[in-house]
């Protein structure tokens, strides 16, 4: 190899190839993916997290929760995701269109959280349960005591505060960050059906061939039985 220009041209071309495919082509393919306007219920899905829950995602990110938890459900025949009750359907690209920072996660030291809010509702877990869980920890999940402030009970006990066993004069007040994180976790619910997910359900054996919905304008559900053609 003697020619420097040729060598650097080769380097340039080699990198440009994967860049074009994985960065530019994916962006062209579904960078414009929009929420699905479901006229049967008169709302667009997924719904954007609001207020406290939106701030909670930043807490989720800054505490590095994604180092132990994923937020992606794999299809029923690929792992035990469905059997564990993490979701009835595979996660699709449309589920993430509102997220500023997509945190899919790459290891499951703890359970998947894609549909945590829906699971919590099913099991009757509310914010108070989750705050207690955050404070005490369980199993491989450590306690997060720094998300709480110990304070003297003045007058009536705060309804949000956790009690401290053996210290009736003190209570543990969740910080704003703790409340935001819990609101975020309870908002996690990606079970709405989209055309592409119905297509998965119809053809489970080919489910992984149909991932994100077609890009471009928001999908309409005038004919929900006729799914969009997903990219290959």
């Amino acid at each position: 190899m003697k020619s420097s220009p040729l060598f650097f041209l080769g380097l340039f071309a080699a990198l440009a190839l994967s860049l074009t495919a994985l960065v530019l082509a994916t962006n062209a393919q579904y960078g414009g993916l929009a929420p699905y306007a479901d006229i049967t219920v008169g709302a667009a899905f997924p719904q954007a997290p609001l207020g406290l829950a939106a701030r909670g995602q930043m807490v989720y990110q800054d505490l590095g929760c994604a180092a132990c938890h994923t937020q992606q459900v794999r299809r029923a025949d690929f792992g035990s995701d469905k059997a564990r009750g993490w979701g009835d359907r595979q996660s699709v690209a449309r589920d993430y269109v509102h997220e500023d920072r997509v945190l899919l996660g790459d290891i499951r030291i703890g359970p998947d959280l894609t549909n945590f809010g829906a699971r919590a509702a099913t099991h009757g877990l509310d914010a108070a349960h989750l705050l207690a869980f955050l404070h005490n920890g369980q199993g491989a999940m450590p306690a997060y005591p720094f998300l709480f402030m110990k304070q003297l009970v003045s007058g009536q006990r705060s309804p949000e505060a956790l009690m401290i066993p053996g210290s009736p004069d003190f209570e543990l007040m969740p910080t704003h960050r703790a409340k935001a994180l819990v609101a975020y976790l309870l908002s996690l619910n990606a079970d709405h059906e989209y055309p592409e997910t119905r297509q998965q359900a119809a053809k489970p054996e080919a489910a992984n061939e149909k991932k994100p919905a077609a890009p471009g304008k928001p999908a309409e559900s005038a004919q929900p039985a006729a799914p969009e053609k997903g990219p290959k």
Binding site: Y30, G64, E99, R101, V102, P142, P145
Partner: protein, 474 residues
Amino acid sequence: MTTAPTNAAQPEVSDIDTAARCPLLLLIGSALVWLVIGGVLALMASIQLHTPEFLARCAWFTYGRMQAAQETVFLYGWGVNAGLAVSLWLLARLGGAPLRATGLAAIGAIFWNLALTVGVAGIFAGDLTGSAFFQLPAYVQPIMFVAYAAVAVAGVLAWTGRRNAFTFATQWYAVAPLFVFPWVFSVAQVTLLFAPVHGTIQAVVAAWFGQNLGALVLAPFALAAVYYLLPKISGRPVRYYDYAGHAFWVLLVIGGWAGGRHLIGGPVPVWVATTGIIASVLLLFHYTVVGVNLSGALCPRGSLALRFAAIGLKAYVLGGVLNAVTSIRAVAKFSQFTFFSVAQTQLLVGGAFTFMIFGALYFLVPRLAGKPWPSAALISIHFAAVLSGLVLKVGGLFVAGWIQGGDLNRAAVSFPSIAGHVRMWLVAATAGEALTLLGSLALALNFARLLVVRADKPAAELFRPPAAMEVPVP
């Protein structure tokens, strides 16, 4: 065909080394400081995996941040600093001329490390991005891009100003990361931080960046060193050298695509994962050729540098094969989302890259400083500790990942049960991290002593016979 570096006959001590002394020793010293810091952080993160309450009462040291910080310190602190030093040294040596733009390189090195320090503090404060291999906060990344480019200028000048038009495999592998990193780093910065792409395209870009950082930046730095050290030290040829060019270009063209294998079954277009799988399998050609080319290093015959390089080479080829195997969907079903993939990363970065670079440092530092390594005992401790540490941590994580993968696929097994099943193996991995840290301390101490002790003989006298270059003074 037998091929050795084109200027192998050059004097062992020359102006080429002394001219590069300041920036390169700065890069190497910084790398070793980060290696020790990274070792401490890795040990603490490893303890938290089986003892979750360890240091968890402080927000700064939660596992998520600790893990992100240790990974960042290892990749950007140890990996990039050491890789750049080795690359610049090799390019100057094989270019046959003293390094130019050394002042710029030194300034770049200083700013790189200052920005990294701020960035790691930022990660502990909660400013991590959340993308693996790309955790540094947005406010330090542009500075690091410029700083890297400043250091890389010296390497590119050494390439363009080389005395021989013909180039050796070492030079291709040494110069490629100087070009690849600024490109992929800047693309990732724009598309993930400053004008973020939408939805799960972020995950695709992050996987692409991570793959490029590992396979097209760190790995080439290390391979450049072994392609140089093998013929230089042993006098043995690079076997089937004619294929080395093919292996290089296969890595460059296909390497960047393989990141998609991490997204198998994920909410991204299926072709991203499929091309990742195909690329991982095609890369077996690269690993095979590199393994055959450098197989001479597998019989180090007393050469210290080659002993490290041999282990690094084995880890590199094994890591490549495992990447291909675990990218197959039937295997990914078990290995995905487990410690198995952590072990694979450890094998390639903590094993392959790190050991090959250790070999290079043992060879080049005495030449740069004009002094031999002061302590043979510390070298023995380093070798024994990092080797046993690597076996324990990678072995422990592989077994833990294997058990975890089986358990995760059985819905009836709860997470506390899985934690109980893998605990023993995670403790073994912690022991491995502790040994690795001990080894890193030995190397850093030896380096510090080398800098402060005075050579009692002129450098030329110490280093004239090639073999004496790397044999420590007892």
